[in-house]
């Protein structure tokens, strides 16, 4: 790892000032950044350790019924907060399906949004990668790409965003709070992450020096608490990134879907809000026929970026199963294997 200057500011303005210099990187949990630095994928000259900024590690209820989660709240603390898990069960389930207990004790809310793709060509500095080195080309195209994107990809980049947490968040209309040179601004999570186009190095709406200070969930997000699930297919039982995943949240009255939210993970360079599928679900009968139509709508624009056509059909099936799980109701207690298709949830098929 290249050496760097280490600065530990104690206030947000001091952090912004320290990071204003080009070549700076914020350090929070460090679970992704330090790994990238060890591989020479990222080589900051200056590391600004924000992990002790006191005001960023709180979970606050807002007067309007929403919730504000400080950017430094750790994944484990958020997932195991009983009130949070009750109100936003799919978010807690997604958090607990990600990484390991050790990593969840270090990784933060803000860092989760900013984690980089796990595309192996991005990590391998001997490979061509437009995200790492704009204009270099993309060795993933025509390479080992069975886990790459099937939605929103371009010839410049076929990488996926690896977050679980962001998938239910984007379904629930989460908003990112950003502190920058011009003060504080709010950006919806749906707009925050970008599709690659011809500039895959631009992954999100942050300007140099910008600091994520929190994530907000609007009051409405808690209205799905009785029927919300996250489902994630991995290549091993646990401690793996999603091949594909889905967050599904419903409000059902008299057998009809009154509100529906659906988002997909592991399929694109951003957490993928499936709005066309939500439109299909709205007002429809809450049954498998509607869910299959919704899954078809969600994947209508999908296309393989390589040896990954299987992910399109797999995602379709996972969408149906996530919606069936949501309809069956949020379990009173999370299964021992959160978000796993292998969990023994009554009434849920095991052949999705």
């Amino acid at each position: 790892m290249k050496n760097f200057d280490y600065i530990r500011p104690t206030t947000i303005p001091d952090a912004l000032a320290a990071a204003a210099e080009p070549g700076s990187a914020y350090l929070a949990g460090g679970t992704n950044l330090l790994d990238l630095m060890k591989g020479g994928v990222t080589s900051p000259d200056r590391v600004v350790d924000i992990s002790r900024l006191p005001e960023l590690n709180r979970i606050e209820r807002l007067a309007d019924g929403g919730l504000r989660i400080g950017a430094l709240v750790r994944n484990a603390d958020l997932a195991h907060d009983p009130e949070f898990a009750r109100s936003y069960p799919a978010v807690a389930e997604a958090l607990l399906s990600g990484a390991s207990a050790q990593l969840r004790n270090a990784a933060t809310v803000g860092g989760n949004l900013l984690q980089r793709t796990r595309c192996s060509y991005f990590y391998d500095t001997a490979s061509a990668c437009n995200k790492r080195e704009p204009g270099a080309g993309c060795d993933a195209l025509g390479g080992e790409n069975r886990l790459h994107a099937v939605l929103g990809w371009s010839d410049a980049c076929i990488a996926t965003h690896p977050s679980d947490f962001c998938v239910p968040l984007v379904a629930l209309d989460a908003v990112v709070e950003i502190e920058g040179k011009k003060g504080r601004r709010h950006v919806t999570l749906e707009e925050f992450h970008r599709l690659p186009g011809q500039t895959p190095q631009r992954e999100n709406g942050l300007e140099p020096g910008d600091l994520i200070v929190g994530v907000r969930l609007p009051a409405e997000a808690a209205s799905f608490s009785a029927n919300a699930r996250y489902l994630k297919v991995r290549e091993r039982t646990s401690y793996a990134f999603a091949v594909v995943s889905a967050a599904a949240a419903l409000v059902v009255e008299g057998g009809k879907i009154r509100q529906a939210r659906l988002a997909l993970g592991g399929v694109a360079a951003k957490p993928w809000r499936a709005r066309s599928a939500e439109a299909v679900l709205l007002g429809a009968d809450a049954d498998e026929t509607s869910f299959v139509r919704a899954a078809d709508a969600a994947l209508a624009d999908a296309s393989p970026s390589g040896d990954n056509a299987f992910k399109i059909e797999l995602t379709r099936r996972i969408v149906v199963r996530a919606l069936m799980s949501a309809l069956a109701g949020t379990p009173g207690r999370l299964p021992a294997l959160p978000a796993s298709p292998f969990s023994s949830i009554p009434g849920v098929r095991h052949d999705a």
Partner: protein, 159 residues
């Protein structure tokens, strides 16, 4: 740009140390190379294997993905700090009793993780133990015995 060393104050197993370190030194390398505490193992050095698991302020984290500077002012416990006055920690004893290792390289990380797993209340069933110990790989495949050791230690700690 000044790329020099910085003073880092560490509290390891109740002993205070002041080290002069380059900022890029991880907690894992500081423990092993500067303090001679080689019980904490370097497996993958990328946060994928769990061999470097230690406790910071009582919670399990990966020492390979923590800068030593990030641990300043925190309380760090390593495998060397687990036994009390020559008496093995119940989890250490259970690993011996259940033969929960073969080569032993992952064992310090497994034990540190298991101590935290039990303390967190995530050792209620074999399924739960497997899930909450998933961050610790064992290439010898001693998993069934590791689960048995965690189960036994969890029962002992509760009683």
């Amino acid at each position: 740009m000044t790329k020099t060393t910085i003073p880092v104050h560490l509290d390891i197993n109740g002993d205070r140390h002041t080290l002069q370190l380059e900022p890029r030194v991880t907690l894992l390398d500081a423990l092993r190379d500067r303090l001679g505490l080689t019980g904490t193992k370097k497996g993958c050095d990328h946060g994928q294997c769990g061999a470097c698991t230690v406790h910071v302020d009582g919670e399990r984290v990966l020492a390979c993905l923590t800068l030593a500077a990030q641990a300043e002012g925190r309380t760090v416990t390593t495998i060397e700090g687990l036994a009390r006055e020559g008496e093995l920690h119940p989890v250490q004893a259970a690993f011996l009793e259940q033969d929960a290792f073969q080569c032993g390289y992952c064992t310090p990380g497994q034990i540190m993780s298991a101590v935290a797993c039990i303390r967190e209340g995530h050792a209620g069933s074999d399924e739960e133990i497997r899930e909450y110990m998933a961050g610790n790989l064992c290439r010898c495949g001693a998993y069934p015995h590791i689960v048995a050791a965690v189960r036994q230690a969890a029962l002992e700690v509760q009683s």
